[in-house]
């Protein structure tokens, strides 16, 4: 059963990879057969035609800045909410949860108007600021729950030793919440990296600014797409996702183990 499930997961990846070396005709003619005459140049073509190299840099820039901002905002906010005992903290936590109720499409028009109003339309800067705003509800809710599991005695003893609030956050809460931080980093990375609609509308199609998700569809035409090149381009966009997934998965495991020992 496990093997069957693994096969179901691997099959699309297999299809994507082998199609990256096949002509359009052979992709449709024999979808699952390995390439008889591999077209190695499709990867280079995809990079060159759609300037995926520039798009990759833009995507990395947007994603990294948005992730840093998310952490800078979500960690202190969660810290405050987790330590807050009063009614205001509970209300504020629920306010953050309300963010889940806003559908992506519903926010598009007001977001566009805000971008135009602030003069940041057709800039990556606006999307760098927008993505953390969208990620805050999930990040704060997840991190708050993690921080609540930290015993109050740890903070009390640190305070006795003269630690200030920032030191408590940096030296106690952040190390012990690494599993939560790694989790939201991974989830938000996937969301930010794959974001398409806002990147398309707000950043726009300028080659010097567009993200990889906006650049990729330029390899597709309405009537005569070279699917091998498109597949190769798609495979290239997955490489950073795979690297980050592997890196963060390890960190998450390490953090879980170290957290368990400290606890």
């Amino acid at each position: 059963m496990v093997w069957l499930y693994a096969l179901v997961l691997v099959l699309p990846l297999y299809y994507l990879l082998i199609s990256s070396f096949k002509t359009t005709t052979s992709i449709f003619d024999s979808p699952l057969a390995p390439p008889a005459h591999p077209e190695w140049h499709y990867f280079g073509d995809a990079l060159r035609y759609a300037r995926l190299d520039l798009a990759l840099v833009n995507s990395v820039l947007v994603t990294v800045v948005a992730l840093v901002l998310t952490l800078l905002l979500a960690v202190p906010a969660s810290f405050a909410l987790a330590r807050g005992q009063g009614r205001a903290a509970r209300v504020l936590e629920r306010v953050f949860s309300l963010g889940f109720l806003v559908p992506t499409f519903a926010a598009l028009v007001p977001t566009f108007l805000m971008a135009a109003f602030t003069g940041l339309f057709h800039t990556r800067t606006f999307v760098m600021l927008l993505l953390p705003a969208g990620a805050m509800p999930l990040s704060v809710v997840v991190l708050t729950q993690f921080m609540r599991t930290i015993p109050a005695e740890l903070e009390e003893s640190a305070r006795v030793d003269g630690a200030g609030t920032l030191t408590v956050l940096r030296r106690i809460f952040i190390p012990l919440c690494m599993p939560g931080i790694a989790t939201i980093l991974l989830l938000n990375f996937l969301n930010f990296w794959n974001e398409y609609l806002y990147s398309l509308v707000i950043i726009g199609p300028d080659t010097s600014q567009r993200t990889i998700q906006v650049a990729l569809p330029t390899l597709q035409s309405n009537q005569a797409t070279e699917y091998g090149v498109l597949m190769a381009g798609t495979a290239l966009t997955l490489v950073p996702v795979y690297i980050v997934y592997v890196l963060l998965q390890r960190r998450m495991e390490e953090a879980l183990i170290s957290g368990a020992i400290k606890m």
Partner: protein, 425 residues
């Protein structure tokens, strides 16, 4: 001290890349020497290569002038342009098709009619009269300069037909069903491969439905619906179901798309397909050598006495945006450069395009495209192309409704009702 260092580190980690990123934003958008052109030329296509080559030539001929290209896919281009227009940041020139949402651009002021520039820039006589007609709306406004179009005949693999015992290309529906029977008896999946699940299937359905519809009535139906209440439309749809049930279309056509249809033809499995010129560009030499172009066979008593095909000049036009008006001299130089005979011929010769201008038809590298342009009206009649009439909001819904027609057992009335429902959203 530590707190300050931490804050400084965090801020610089966040702000530095943002500022670095801002440094190169929108380079040259407002520069009067930079013309921003938004197009949908698929990266790496022959069409894009010819365009790139000409763009470089234009920049060489106009020192100090730069063309900045923005490339988006068809639907994306429309959305991006419209939002950019709302923010007053749209490109100066847009190269996109005239269909669906773009049909409303002139009326909404999203783009500027080009009537006055046709004469002022000496371009009017460059265009085929049919092309200019298609780009002119009911109020006489020319939405953009017609650039390229398409032909849409039926491609027949004569060698494969002969193998199934069909000696000549069918020209009537009786010959068509007889040929389909022979193909099926010979073990074939059908006579005509078609993407019943996408635009290719929708166009063929609309083409067959027009068998008994006068052109004006067909145009009215496409614009306003009423298929189920129109006896001539129903008669055309009944013809479609008869052809379908006689095995004319490939098995499972309702689940196929244009790409699978093309593959069927390119690999020599399909005896015939309804082939738009962009499909004809890619027909392998071996198959092209045995391909005969014709039209879709017509029934006795129909309004067309010859097999039908589509053709049009709305695939791409060169539109002028309100921002483009501020750089009119640059726009004029660029547009008139593209329409120079040698330059528009390059798109035909090297990219197999069907151009909306006079005297650009021959393409030795793409003989089927050239042949499709030359198909004589003594052999082919041209049916009404639905795209110019179907309302923008209906187009995609109509394509989905059309796929039902390829499902075995669906009757004409049921298909017509589904088509009408698409207009109600």
């Amino acid at each position: 001290m530590r707190r300050r260092t931490l804050l400084k580190g965090s801020l610089s980690a966040t702000v530095a890349p943002v500022l670095a990123g801002c440094g190169e934003l929108s380079p040259g958008d407002d520069n009067p020497r930079t013309l921003v052109v938004h197009n949908m030329l698929t990266a790496g296509s022959a069409n894009a290569e010819v365009y790139d080559h000409l763009q470089r030539a234009f920049e060489r001929n106009n020192p100090g002038v730069r063309i900045k290209n923005l490339v988006s896919g068809g639907t994306d281009l429309i959305n991006v342009y419209e939002t950019a227009r709302l923010a007053d940041k749209e490109a100066d020139v847009v190269m996109v098709n005239l269909a669906e949402k773009t049909l409303s651009w002139t009326g909404l002021g999203a783009t500027v009619p080009v009537n006055r520039y046709l004469d002022a820039w000496g371009l009017r006589d460059r265009f085929l009269p049919q092309a200019l007609k298609e780009w002119t709306d009911a109020r006489g406004r020319v939405a953009g300069f017609p650039w390229n179009g398409f032909t849409w005949p039926v491609a027949y693999n004569t060698e494969l037909l002969k193998r199934y015992g069909v000696s000549q290309v069918p020209t009537t529906t009786d010959e068509l069903t007889a040929a389909a029977r022979k193909v099926r008896a010979g073990g074939g999946k059908g006579l005509v491969s078609i993407g019943g699940n996408d635009w290719s299937g929708q166009k063929l359905l609309m083409q067959i439905m027009q068998a008994y519809l006068p052109p004006e009535r067909a145009a009215h139906l496409f614009a306003h619906a009423g298929y189920a209440a129109d006896p001539l439309a129903l008669r055309g749809l009944e013809l479609f179901t008869r052809l379908r049930d006689a095995g004319v279309f490939f098995q499972g056509a309702q689940g196929l798309n244009a790409d699978s249809m093309n593959t069927d033809y390119y690999t020599g499995r399909a005896p015939a397909i309804s082939a738009i010129s962009s499909t004809l560009i890619n027909v392998p030499e071996k198959i092209a050598a045995v391909t005969e172009l014709g039209g879709w066979p017509t029934p006795p008593g129909g309004v067309y006495d010859k097999p039908t095909a589509f053709r049009g000049y709305t695939a791409t036009g060169i539109w002028l945006s309100p921002r483009g008006l501020k750089k009119l001299d640059l726009v004029k130089r660029f547009v008139t450069f593209l329409y120079r005979p040698a330059n528009s011929r390059a798109f035909v010769r090297d990219a197999g395009q069907v151009m909306a201008v006079r005297g650009a038809t021959e393409s030795p590298r793409f003989p089927l495209v050239s042949e499709s342009v030359r198909l004589p009206e003594s052999r082919i009649a041209y049916a009404v192309m639905p795209d110019l009439y179907v309302p923008p909001a209906v187009s995609q819904l109509l394509i989905r409704a059309s796929s039902l027609a390829y499902v075995p057992g669906r009757g004409a009335h049921s298909i017509a009702t589904a088509l009408d429902a698409a207009y109600r959203g």
